[in-house]
Symmetry: D2
Subunit: 150 residues, 4 copies
């Protein structure tokens, strides 16, 4: 699918907003790629983000997937809109072990108010890539809300 | 609902396993309460865990909810079983602002292999408490898997 | 929780709209109870609605839960609004066998545009009641859409 | 993705089991295609399966998606296993209007006990096809359960 962005400066807008997500900096996540309706984020494996078996915590994987899905939706929104997550569901497919977590989000259906996004999370180790989780989420466009910057 | 735990030492087992979740220490989460089929976790608000609008990131809220739900299920498992998240869904109900995040997980239906758990997340500020998210998840009991400690 | 309905005639509005859901009549479902933010629906067991093992099909259970959740949200909406399901998730907890399916939906958080609703489905046989499924869904209020009656 | 079926007679097994789902016959659904890990089902539009706005009821769409996802998982199971739905989530993307509902399910990750499946539902009218819903679900393989035929 290919989408027509409403704001030609969507990539800058996505990267600026991402840089204000302090949780992303705390976890060590970064933007790998931005296109209209598509955002990839990366998180290098860190031992201090693991659960009791030494894998990345499912919630940490979800945090990166949620940001990727939110920004994929945000890339198609108007310049004065903000984005909030309405809901998401995650299925965990394999243990999150490896060198690098990559979350790839793609808009499934853009809408005036609600946008549905899917995201796959993979763990990369050398040349090998294993899909470890998949998300489907609903993102909401907010307008004119005082106190919300985009 | 009240449940009969299979392992009388379930509280120690939950607290020991929680202490091995390095992500929980990194985020600053702690165990507030453990009962058979019920676990409450707490996370004091931290500015470095926020999204772009200054609220706790939905993924961070999910991380605490997931651990709470996982350990609620784990509290009813046998002493030699480990727990893994199969899937969860989160609905975000209000912005996660306030002093303290509390995630309260309750087992909805325990099972031999799969246990369904619900969890509510609230933000507490002084006397006030606002429900900000709700999770429904499926947790799996694993047995005799080499390399997995419970 | 108790809710203040915006339309004092909400019960009539719910029952009228339900009577226009031809799928409900085809399946044999009926309204058991309507309150502000709460709707119970019933479906007597029918052999022609089963899956391959002779239980009620999970999709049929979902159909009744979805209508119950939609109308629980609808009961709190304004008189000129229509309701549509945005998304729902269902966890199946036990085989759907018994005499009567009862779906009980309760609004979890009402909103101007989106309302989050939870619903439990039970199978009743004589005095016994078994919870067989649970739903969490998001319902949307629509205004001024030509062609949509409420 | 391509999968190696454990039972070479998987197509017959899927079609036989589908023919025992009385709900499918009641709704008028049929098997359109079976491959290893892939099942397409079809349901011609019927006015008596609609909700209050004249679209196919979201629950009816879900019923067909659930059967498609269940049988996609079942196609990869061993000859003596039965399948049950553990959970699914559906996002509704557009009104279900048109001549024919087609549900296309694809296994995302097969497993010994649990299989994750995704399914898209489209409405077809002449040459046009609109995606109206998407499902992600977890299906469980059951062995040696007395009283369950596959």
């Amino acid at each position: 699918m290919s989408f027509e962005p409403r704001d030609p400066h969507f990539e800058r807008r996505v990267r600026d907003s991402f840089s204000r997500q302090k949780a992303m900096e705390t976890l060590g996540a970064r933007v790998a790629r931005v296109a209209a309706g598509e955002v990839d984020l990366e998180l290098p494996f860190r031992d201090d983000l693991t659960q009791q078996h030494g894998f990345l915590h499912a919630g940490i994987v979800t945090t990166v997937l949620d940001s990727a899905c939110g920004y994929a939706a945000f890339s198609l929104m108007a310049a004065d809109q903000a984005v909030l997550s309405v809901e998401f569901k995650v299925n965990l497919l394999a243990p999150a072990k490896g060198d690098l977590l990559v979350a790839r989000a793609r808009v499934k259906r853009p809408g005036r108010t609600l946008t549905v996004v899917t995201g796959d999370a993979v763990m990369v180790t050398g040349e090998e890539e294993v899909t470890i989780a998949t998300m489907v989420g609903t993102m909401m466009a907010l307008e004119n809300r005082p106190g919300l910057v985009s």
